[in-house]
Symmetry: C2
Subunit: 405 residues, 2 copies
C-alpha cells in the first residue's frame, strides 16, 4: 500500500524549540485567533499559553506543539493546518468534527475568491490517470476496512437518519435508478464506476446493460470479478479507460462522484461526451460534490488526498456541461445532510479500524485520513460543501415526468 | 378593459392583393418552408398554392391570406407570425397547439443567441409598473373568465394528470408550503403576489403572517378584499409597491411567477433584496418560467403580451441572484409538463368564454390571447420553455432536510 508520506516525518519536528513561548509566538497566536474570529475554540501553545474565545465557551482546543507548526499555520493555514496535524505537530483536543465545524462556520463570511479559476488546469488523460491512481489505488483492502459491504465510496441516501450505511448505500443506488426511470433492456453508460456497485445494481435489479468506465485498474479488476461471480458479466462491461474514450449511443448517461475530479477546464469536453453518448430521448444523472460559490478545494486536500479535484457550483456545471449541449435540467437535489451522515459512518468504522490502518501504512497516514474524513463531515454539516444530484434530458425530449422520485 | 390593439386593424388588410400568387410569392413561401424544415405543416397561399411537408403527413396548415402577411413573415417571422395571426391575415387550420409544437420542434436545432443580453435593459420602478399595468390590470373580470376559482395565474401542480385545475392550483400552493416547511407564527415575504391566493393559503392553512408585494393595483384591491372577507387581514398585509421597497427581516422569502418579469439587469438587485430580507436561518423559493439556454423572449410576446419579460436559465439565476449572496440551492424541480397541462385547462376555458372575451374587447384581442395561450402550451410540451422551482437556504444554514417533498 502506497502512503505518500514516507520520509517526511521530520518536517515539523520539535528540534530547536525553546521551552517557553515568547512575545512573537503569542503575537502569532493572536493572528490565528483573529483569523478564526469568534469560533468557540481554545488556541494553545506548547507551554500552555492560551487564547480563549470571547465568551469562554469552547467545543475544543487546538494545540500548537512547536514554533515551526505555529508559524507555518500563520503563513498558510489552509495548507499547513493539515500538514502539521498529520505529522502530530498540531493536536486537537475535544471532538475533531465539532472543532472543524466551528472553524468552517467562522470562515463562512469570508469573501469569494474570483481568482479560483487561475488554479484550474486541464486534467489530461495521463494526468487524470495519475490522480486516480493516487487516491483510488490505495488498495481494496484499505477501503474494505471502512466502506460498506458494496464498496460504495460516494454519498449514501438515508431514508431515515438511523438507517444503516449498508441500507443507505442500496437506497442511494435504487433512488438513482428510479430518478432515471430505467427500463429493462435499456443501455446505460457510466463514467467513473468505482468498484462497480451501481453498474451491477442497475443490471441485476433493473435489467439494463451497462458500459462502465474507470481509470483505476484495481477497482476495475474487483468489479469484473464481481460481475463474473454474480452472473451478469454478459450485461455489464467494465472498461479500464478514460471516460473521454466512451463510444456508441446509450439511453442513459450516469456519473456518480466523478465530476469533481474532471476540473472546470474539461467541462466542455465532458458535456460533449454526454452529447455524443445520449440518444435523442435519453436522460442522465450527475452526482457530485459541489459548492454554493466558486472556491478552490482546500490545498491540503489537493496535496494529500485528491490531486486535481475541484467541486464546482451549479452555475459552473450549467455553464460548462449542460447549456452548451442544450441539456434540460429536470431535477436537482442537494444531499449534503446525507453526505455528512455517510462520513460520520465512514469515520466511525475508520476509527474502529485505526490499528489496522496504522499497521498497513503508518500513523501519519492514519491521522491524515482521519482529518480528511472529519473535515469533510464538518464541511457538509456547515454548508461549506454541497452534494448535488442533477437529472437532465435533452432539451427537445418528449419525456414527461409528472411526479418526481 | 384596455385591449392595446385598437386602430391597428388595417395593418394587414387585403387591399392591393392580386387574385393569384406570382413567382415571387412562391419563392417567399419556399423561404418559409426552408426555415421550418421538416415540420409536418402545410403552407398555403391565398389562392390555394401550397408547400407540403416532404412525407406529406401534416398536423395542420398555415394559410397566408395576403401578400403583405406573407412577406412580413419572411422578413421577421418571430414578430410577424403573431401580428398577422391576431389580425386574421394568417390563419391556422387544424389544431393550433399541434401546429405550434411542430414549429417549435423544427426550430429546436437552431443556434443559441449569444447576443441575447444586448436586449436586456433594466426594468426601473416606473417601467416595471407600466409593464405590470399592461398585462395584469386587464381587468379582474377578464381573468375570472378562464382562471380557476382562486385566481392563480401561474403553473399548477397536477398530482395526477386528470386532476381538476382547481385542485391542481391548491396542490401547487400546498406543495410550495411543504417545500418551505412553514411553521405557525413564521413571517413570510412574498414578491409578486398576484391576486393573493398563495399569501392567503399560507396564512389560513399554515398560521404564518405574510407581507405580499404587487405593483398591480387591481390585483391588490382584490386581494385585500379577500383577506377581509376571510378574516386574515390582521395576518396578511398586501402592499401595492415594488418588491425593491421590501423592508424588515423574514423567515421565508417566496416569489412565484415574478422573476421572469425582473429582467437580467436587475438580478443582482433582486438577490440583494432577498439577502437583506432573510434572517440567518431563513429559506426561500423561486418559481419562474425559464430556459435551457439563453434565448430572448419571442418579440411578439414582448410586444403584445409581456413587455419587459425575460425567462432566465438556471445558470443566469445562479449567477445573478444566488451565488453573489452565498445562497445554497436545496432543491430544483422542473414542472414544464405541469405548465403545459395548466395552459391546456386555461385555453379550454378561454375558448369556451371566447364570445365574452370578444364582447369585452374585440376579435383581434381574443385571437392574440388564444395564440399566446396555445403557443405557451406548445412551448412547454416541446421543451422550448421550462418552469423551475428553486428552494434555497443561506449557505451556512443548519437547516437539515433529510427527505424532500
Amino acid at each position: 500500500m502506497r502512503t505518500h508520506v514516507a520520509g517526511q516525518h521530520q518536517t515539523f519536528s520539535s528540534e530547536g524549540i525553546s521551552a517557553f513561548s515568547n512575545p512573537l509566538d503569542r503575537w502569532a497566536l493572536r493572528q490565528i485567533r483573529s483569523a478564526v474570529g469568534a469560533a468557540p475554540i481554545r488556541l494553545l501553545l506548547w507551554d500552555g499559553f492560551q487564547s480563549a474565545p470571547g465568551d469562554d465557551s469552547s467545543v475544543g482546543s487546538i494545540v500548537f506543539r512547536n514554533r515551526k507548526a505555529l508559524f507555518s499555520c500563520v503563513r498558510d493555514p489552509e495548507l499547513n493546518f493539515g500538514e502539521t496535524y498529520m505529522f502530530g505537530a498540531v493536536e486537537v483536543r475535544g471532538d475533531l468534527v465539532a472543532v472543524l465545524e466551528a472553524l468552517y462556520l467562522a470562515l463562512h463570511g469570508s469573501k469569494p475568491r474570483p481568482w479560483s479559476r487561475l488554479w484550474q488546469q486541464s486534467n489530461g488523460v495521463g494526468q487524470a490517470k495519475e490522480h486516480v491512481h493516487h487516491h483510488y489505488d490505495l488498495g481494496n483492502d484499505f477501503y474494505r476496512l471502512w466502506l460498506d459491504r458494496e464498496m460504495v465510496y460516494t454519498c449514501a441516501y438515508f431514508p431515515t437518519p438511523d438507517a444503516s450505511l449498508e441500507d443507505a448505500q442500496i437506497a442511494k443506488m435504487e433512488r438513482i435508478c428510479r430518478k432515471l426511470r430505467l427500463q429493462p433492456g435499456e443501455r446505460v453508460a457510466e463514467a467513473g464506476c468505482g468498484w462497480g456497485s451501481l453498474a451491477l445494481h442497475m443490471a441485476k435489479q433493473h435489467g439494463v446493460t451497462v458500459t462502465a468506465f474507470n481509470l483505476s485498474s484495481e477497482q476495475i479488476d474487483y468489479a469484473r470479478h464481481r460481475a463474473q461471480q454474480e452472473g451478469v458479466a454478459d450485461r455489464v462491461e467494465f472498461v479500464n479507460d478514460d471516460y473521454r474514450n466512451l463510444r456508441g449511443t446509450y439511453d442513459v448517461f450516469v456519473s456518480v462522484g466523478m465530476l469533481e475530479h474532471v476540473g472546470l477546464a474539461d467541462f466542455h469536453t465532458f458535456g460533449r461526451v454526454i452529447d455524443r453518448t445520449l440518444h435523442s430521448d435519453g436522460r442522465g444523472l450527475l452526482h457530485f460534490i459541489g459548492r454554493d460559490r466558486p472556491t478552490p478545494l482546500n490545498p491540503w486536500i489537493r496535496k494529500r488526498i485528491f490531486p486535481g479535484a475541484y467541486p464546482p457550483t451549479l452555475r459552473e456545471v450549467a455553464e460548462g456541461v449542460l447549456e452548451p449541449q442544450n441539456l434540460s435540467v429536470v431535477d436537482v437535489e442537494n444531499l449534503r445532510a446525507h453526505y455528512a451522515k455517510t462520513l460520520e459512518h465512514w469515520r466511525q468504522r475508520f476509527t474502529a479500524a485505526a490499528p489496522d490502518v496504522t499497521r498497513m501504512s503508518n500513523a501519519t497516514f492514519a491521522r491524515a485520513w482521519d482529518l480528511y474524513l472529519a473535515g469533510s463531515q464538518a464541511a457538509f454539516t456547515t454548508g461549506w460543501m454541497q452534494l448535488f444530484q442533477i437529472v437532465f434530458v435533452r432539451g427537445e425530449s418528449r419525456r414527461v415526468t409528472w411526479a418526481r422520485v
